[in-house]
Structures are given as C-alpha cells and as structure tokens.
C-alpha cells in the first residue's frame, strides 16, 4: 500500500472517530424508588439546604443537584409517599429564584415548587406547567416580592400531573463530514457542512438534575455587562 492512501485512511478514521457513540432510546418516564421505612411524617423533619441570595449586580451562582440524591421521603396526609427537596430562603425581598430542570438523556425532572412559611404551611404552588421549555432545559423564575416575604422554604417535588408524559422536540444538528481524496503524490482533504434533523422525546420523570439560584431582584441597566450563570457547587 502506498503512503498516501494509508494517510488518507488514518485521517478519515481520526476525523470520524468522534461520531461513534449511540445512546439507547428512552421509552418511558423514570420513577423514584422510595423506602417507606425512611419516610418522615412532617416536612420540618427534612433537612433544608440553604439558598444563598446573591446581590443583583452579581452573576447567578447556581447550585446543581440530582433530585434523586438530594430528596427525602415524606408521607403525605393521604398516606402516599412523596420525594421532596427542601430549600431555606433568608427572607430577603424582592428576590428572583431561578430553577432550571435539565434535559439529559431524554429525561427531565417534572418539578412542582411549593412555597412554605416559617411554620412549613403551604402558601403557593408553582406547577410544572408554569416552567418554560428551552432547548436543553425547562426553566422557571419565582419572584418573592413584599407580599411574599413570609416565604421561608421552597419544596421541590415531582408534579404528579405532569410525570409520565413526554414532550417531543425537533431540532437541527449541523456537522462536518470529512472527505479525503488520494491524488498522485499526496491527498486532498477537507470537510463538507451537512445537517440532519433530530426528533427526540423527553420523558417527564420523578428524577433528574436541576440547578437553583437566588438573587436580589432589580432591573438591569441597558448596556451593562450581562450577568452570567456560574455553578456554585453540586451534590
């Protein structure tokens, strides 16, 4: 074999090597397995994760979690078992709390958010349907203004009305397809832009990753440096 075709084959393999992995298609929502023996009877028994409020001019500092790792099990009044993650606010207002439910491997955590007072009494619920579908996540903003300064806890739990359903998403994927042409004395190589369409179902589940951050609310000055999202930590 002459040198040029061997280089051509090696180059082709190197260029196409990155495209080899294929993930299996997910066919249903993922449920969370709960151990009834570990369930508490009152929300106040669940340790709350502190939600630090950043100042308005700061970048968002997101904390990232896997719900299934953070959640504790609570037994509801009707006897049903509910996994939930509790966050404690510092009572400052006005505040914007941003929750991002990541779409990963065709799964997204279909969360509802309950706002509780210092006595763990329910004040308001934000259902999953109030979250907005984005390219790679579902996002929701909760504003705590003067009227809601009694909010002390946020509880994230699966929204039973949405869990088990699937959303379809159609998107275009651009890629470069390499070509290598052996010619006498060498090779010509390059790449051609090509695209394909991907239609995927996202299964709304009881598990999944999410990130959360709180920041004082104040409208930004037009033209000021935009605040970026940062990861503050993860579990």
């Amino acid at each position: 074999m002459s040198r040029a075709p061997r280089i051509a084959i090696a180059l082709l393999l190197a260029l196409t090597g990155a495209c080899g992995s294929v993930r299996p298609t997910v066919q249903s929502a993922q449920r969370m397995q709960l151990d009834p023996g570990s369930c508490v009877t009152e929300i106040k028994q669940i340790p709350a994760t502190a939600l630090h409020t950043g100042v308005a001019a700061e970048d968002w500092k997101f904390q990232v979690f896997a719900f299934q790792q953070l959640a504790s099990c609570a037994r509801a009044a009707d006897g049903s078992l509910v996994p939930m993650a509790v966050f404690a606010t510092d009572g400052r207002v006005p505040v914007e709390i941003r929750v991002i439910l990541m779409v990963d491997a065709q799964i997204a955590f279909a969360a509802a958010v309950d706002l509780l007072d210092a006595e763990h009494q329910l004040l308001r619920t934000i259902p999953f349907t109030d979250f907005s579908r984005r390219g790679a996540s579902y996002t929701g903003s909760v504003f705590l203004n003067e009227q809601e300064q009694q909010v002390r806890y946020l509880v994230l739990r699966p929204d039973s009305a949405s869990v088990g359903t699937a959303h379809s998403s159609t998107s275009g994927i651009g890629r470069q397809v390499p070509y290598v042409i052996p010619i006498p004395g060498g090779i010509i190589y390059g790449s051609v832009a090509t695209g394909s369409e991907k239609i995927l179902s996202t299964w709304l589940s009881e598990v999944g990753s999410f990130s959360i951050a709180a920041r004082e609310y104040a409208p930004t000055e037009f033209g000021s440096k935009p605040a970026r999202a940062k990861r503050a930590g993860s579990r």
Partner: protein
C-alpha cells in the same frame, strides 16, 4: 443581477452565521408584581421584512464561492416562490403578528401602542435595537425583533423537511429606555439547535420533505406560517 446575487450571498452568510451561533439576548424573566403599574406599552417599529426560505447546513456552501453561488441561486428561486405565494394569500407576518399579539396582550390587561417612526434603527443580530430613546404616553417600551419568518430545513435531504420557522427576540424596557425589565428569545422550530431560547414545537402537519412538496401545498403552506406566527405571539404574551 450581480448586485442582487452579492446581496443574496451576504444575507445567506448572515443566516449561516446565525445558524452557527444564534446569540440569544440575556434572559431576564418579567416580575409582574413589581411592575404592576405597567399597563400601556409602546411597541417599537419592526423592520419590514419578507418571508424567507433557508436550508441550514447546505453542503453547497462548503464548496467555495462557486458552490455558494449555485446553492444561493437555487435557494433564491425557491424563496421567490414562497414570497409570491405569501402575497397571493394575503399573508404579511408583521401585520398578522401585530394583530395577534395586540389581542393576546389585551387579554392579559395590556394596551399596546405601536410606534411608526424609528429613531434608532440600528439593530443587532437578534433584530433588537442597539440603543433606546425615552417614549412618552406609555409606561414601558417593548422591542421585538422578528429575525426570521418562513420555511427552514435542517439539511438538504428528504429527512430534513422544510418546516414553518419563526425566530423572535424581545426586550421590555422602562419608558426611559434605561432599565431592562424582560428579555428573551422564542424559536418556533429549533432548526439551529439553540440550547437556551424558549422553544415551540412546529406543527407536524406542515412539514415538507422536498421543495416540490412545499410548492404543491401552496396555500396550506402559508397556513402553517399563520399558525407559527400565532403561537409565537401567544408565547411572548404569556411571558409578560
């Protein structure tokens, strides 16, 4: 002829650049309670634009200026057909958007005042103004950039059908134009695989594997655009 081709190529390069990295405006959710006094909103003028047709990731664009010129000549003919069909079916997306968005906002308790005279007409890639002047007779000003309305395909093959596509960016500012109260991007048909914009799924009834299929659909294809504009207008109103 040459001038028109150069203009067309420039537009295509812009669309290619947009496809590569559609820069969403920084997302800011709207705090309704804190801004409850805002009832009357001035909507800044939107540039008059025609419907577009575009194939993202068209291999033709990979073969230098000659390849691009051939691909562009082909696209141009198809886009001309779409624009003529839109006109024949009395479809103007800016007129329709204005009508539907006004109604959707009225339902949410807002009165819109559409501005005609554009004082600052320089815009960014998302179609939003680069600077703002104060407005009078309104509690806030809303800037809307419809950077693409038309049919787009994710690739050149039959398995990448033409689908109705709308790219919209919006920014709500205080009446003096100094404070940003809301900012986001809405995409009907995520042909560019944007990760952060609000996404609306295209109606599967209006998908055309080939241009011939789109052409055969005629008025039906325009109905697909009406639905796309309607859903985009509703989605934006829902955010405010």
């Amino acid at each position: 002829m040459t001038r028109s081709l150069i203009r067309s190529l420039a537009l295509s390069l812009l669309l290619l650049a947009l496809g590569a990295c559609v820069s969403s405006p920084v997302q800011q959710a709207y705090n309704r309670e804190m801004n409850s006094s805002i009832k009357r909103i001035a909507v800044l003028p939107m540039p008059a634009q025609n419907v577009r047709l575009f194939v993202f990731n068209n291999p033709g664009y990979s073969f230098g200026l000659i390849g691009m010129a051939i691909a562009e000549a082909n696209r141009n003919g198809k886009e001309n057909w779409l624009q003529k069909t839109a006109a024949d079916n009395d479809f103007s997306h800016s007129v329709l958007f204005r009508e539907l968005f006004t109604a959707a906002m009225l339902e949410r308790g807002y009165e819109l005042v559409w501005q005609d005279l554009d004082h600052n007409n320089k815009r960014d890639a998302a179609g939003l103004h680069k600077k703002y002047s104060p407005v009078t007779g309104a509690d806030a000003q809303l800037d809307i950039g419809l950077s693409f309305v038309g049919y787009a395909a994710a690739g050149a093959g039959k398995s990448e059908p033409y689908r109705p596509t709308v790219n919209l960016s919006a920014r709500l500012l205080s009446a003096d134009g100094k404070k940003v109260l809301y900012s986001d991007m809405v995409l009907y048909h995520n042909v560019t695989n944007n990760r952060s914009a609000l996404i609306l799924e295209p109606d599967p009834k209006y998908q055309y594997p080939d241009f011939d299929d789109l052409e055969a659909a005629g008025a039906d294809a325009i109905e697909g655009l009406r639905i796309a504009v309607n859903q985009t207008a509703s989605a934006l109103a829902k955010q405010l």
